[in-house]
């Protein structure tokens, strides 16, 4: 029996992307909520709550991108030109977001610029990632190992809807993270934001699911075919369970529950997408098998991944452990 290396790698890349979405999702969410917080002290504290971890979180995006080139070079080489504008916009957004952590504390006169860069960069990056997701769902034209579509294919009402959904979803992750990591006034603002974005996300997820069902019926076929059917049937139950934990947590003040419940919603949504896509890597023309690099490449990197990813998870967990608990307003780095 031979090991299906492309499938294993599709799983690992999916894991890296999911880790990125959840982890940098709450960092970006802080950036999205940033301009709406009451005071400068609140904004400082919100930023400090992610300052020690955002860089590690963003590295999952590099693994997703760099890993794609390594193990699915054809997917990398067709997706990125197809999504040229949103990808460049995302990179520029991430530049502003990333440097703002350091720059903001270095200047009085220019702080507004980096406040703006942090919030604007986070919003642009989130929107661009959501548009990228939507463009992938609606399909990428590929011919003769190259992107064969137009330069504005990524811009449709559907992709704008997915863009907005991801933006709101990240804001929810950010709000529940803040609810977990802060106290008093800031936690109250976070709770209000969580109610608002949580409700909005539910509506948007429903809208995305319905419109994909109408626009792309081939996905519906997949949802109701065995064994995906199993997930389709349990999905509503699991989603309701997450919502229940979320609501109880916010009402009763179990500070970590809403955050974990939101992660649960993201995982469910991500699994839904993964099931819809399989066996495509770049719907609807390139399958996992076709996009894969030769087994010698997949095996070589897999050895490293199997040794290093557990190590990475261990020391990343350690870093989170070091900065556990509520953020102390007096311990500010800046």
């Amino acid at each position: 029996m031979s090991i299906d290396l492309p499938l294993i790698w599709a799983g690992l890349i999916a894991f890296a992307v999911l880790a990125y979405v959840v982890l940098d999702g709450f960092d970006l969410g802080i950036g999205i909520l940033f301009p709406f917080l009451d005071s400068k002290a609140d904004r400082d504290l919100a930023m400090n709550s992610v300052a020690p971890v955002w860089d590690g979180n963003e590295t999952w995006l590099v693994l997703g991108g760099g890993g794609l080139m390594a193990v699915f070079p054809l997917a990398y080489a067709t997706l990125l030109p197809a999504l040229y504008a949103p990808i460049i916009a995302m990179l520029l957004g991430l530049i502003f977001r990333g440097v703002s952590f350091e720059f903001r504390g270095k200047t009085e006169r220019g702080r507004w610029l980096w406040d703006f860069g942090f919030a604007g960069g986070s919003m642009v990056a989130a929107l661009a990632q959501g548009i990228t997701l939507g463009a992938l769902v609606q399909g990428i034209e590929v011919d003769n190992r190259a992107y064969a579509g137009g330069w504005w294919d990524w811009l449709t009402p559907f992709t704008l809807l997915t863009g907005l959904s991801v933006l709101v979803g990240y804001a929810l992750l950010g709000a529940t993270w803040l609810f977990m990591k802060t106290e008093n006034g800031l936690a109250r603002q976070a709770r209000a934001a969580a109610w608002l974005t949580g409700g909005a996300l539910l509506v948007l997820m429903g809208a995305v699911t319905l419109s994909s069902a109408f626009l792309f019926p081939h996905y519906v076929e997949r949802w109701f075919s065995w064994p995906a059917l199993l997930f389709t049937l349990f999905m509503p139950v699991l989603l309701l369970a997450c919502i229940a934990v979320f609501v109880r947590g916010l009402v009763r003040g179990h500070d970590s529950h809403p955050f974990l419940a939101t992660i649960g919603v993201f995982v469910l949504g991500f699994l839904g997408i993964a099931i819809s896509f399989y066996p495509w890597m770049v719907p609807p023309h390139v399958t996992i098998e076709q996009a894969a690099a030769p087994d010698s490449s997949l095996a070589f990197l897999l050895v490293g991944a199997l040794i290093l990813i557990p190590l990475i998870l261990a020391y990343t967990g350690y870093a989170y452990w070091v900065f556990r608990g509520k953020v102390d307003p007096d311990e500010g780095y800046h």
Binding site: V53, G56, G65, A70, P73, A77, I87, L91, A146, W151
Partner: protein, 471 residues
Amino acid sequence: MIDLFSAIELARFQFAFTVSAHIIFPAFSIGLASYLAVLEALWLWKKDDAYFQVFEYWKTIFAIVFGMGVVSGIVMSYQFGTNWSVFSDKTGPILGPLMGYEVLSAFFLEAGFLGVMLFGLNRVGPRLHFFATLMVAAGTLMSAFWILSVNSWMHTPVGYGVNEAGQFVPRDWWAIIFNPSFPYRLVHMVLAAYLTTAFVVGGVGAWHLLRDTRDRGARIMFSMAMWMALLVAPLQIVAGDLHGLNTLEHQPAKVAAMEGHYETREGAPLYLFGLPDDEAEKTRYGVKIPKLGSMILTHEWDGKIKGLKAFPEDERPPSALIFWTFRIMVAIGLAMVALGLWSAWSRWRGRLYDSPWLLRAAALMTPSGFAAVLAGWITTEVGRQPWTVYGLLRTSESASPLDAPAVGISLLVFIGVYFLVFGSGTFYILRLMLKPPQAGRTEIGWPTRTAGITPGPAVGRRESEGDRHEH
């Protein structure tokens, strides 16, 4: 202006611009991470707070440099796909896993421990904190290892086969990773990063010593940096020479362009200056030393050197840029050696910290490492043209099927954003560097040979009769 250029020229310019902006930060952060580890080790070992204060001084600067390196680096990791999709598809099976190892073994390590290093001292204590600093330093070096292996394979591709889809596929991973130019390039670049950092640290130390010769922090910086200049700059000349010989073996056309040689001949001269003219196929206004070119490259006075005319016209790199950037790099390298020797002379005479002209020269040379790194990379990368994978895949056949306006617009936006963001970052760094290190003062203003490492209480300004250096 966009119509004036083809999509591929714009894509090349965009890559050159973004990678040049990027390399500045790792060139500094690789060296600075190691320097921070050394400073923290000295602090823990000698229990002298002056080292900790110097550590803190550079840690703040490191955080900014590292942040700018991260965000400009993410652009690189996606730009292969956005603008060079054919290259990515064809080389992905070989270069992708190497970059994958860079992410797994280096980027996560740096990022994971950076937070602890920057914010965690009070939470984890000095020993674990030192471990975090070591991991950040190790991460930067591992990152250099993998990405230089990738780059070197593009110069000296080996260990590959080609499949039906036209992709390069791996045959021998060991040969791919340790390809022929890799060891030379790795050593040359890591030494360059260390020298770049040493000259920044030394320059900042010198600048503050010119204002206050007894500033202990500035003394520590300057003394350590000048040891690096003395010991590492000559090593770098040797490493560079070996790298050049390796290039002569594998990429003789690049060396011909570096030397401004069009004719193949025995006993070739060394051009000190000149204007290589690819159209006329000769180097104009050459100032040359007879036979020295052959001596340097073949280690024989009458050794034979191939000129550019020995290669088909469509396989020659453009020589003027290569010729000049090479000379800039070498001149800076020699100046670094000279400063190292000068500092050794001053140190031996016990006047390291109060030789104004030495301090001024060191301050002037603060950015010299960056200039040398950029010039050297331009030499080697332009010298690889017209190929992306040397001799196998042409640059003109590597790019994405993009329209010129799309690339033109993204290029303009990159230029605007980079100047704003990295210009601001550079400004903040310079402002931090203008602050004196304030790691206490030496007890006696009179500089002694060991003053830089004399433990002493951080006392306020104390005048002594022997102090000739009041300000």
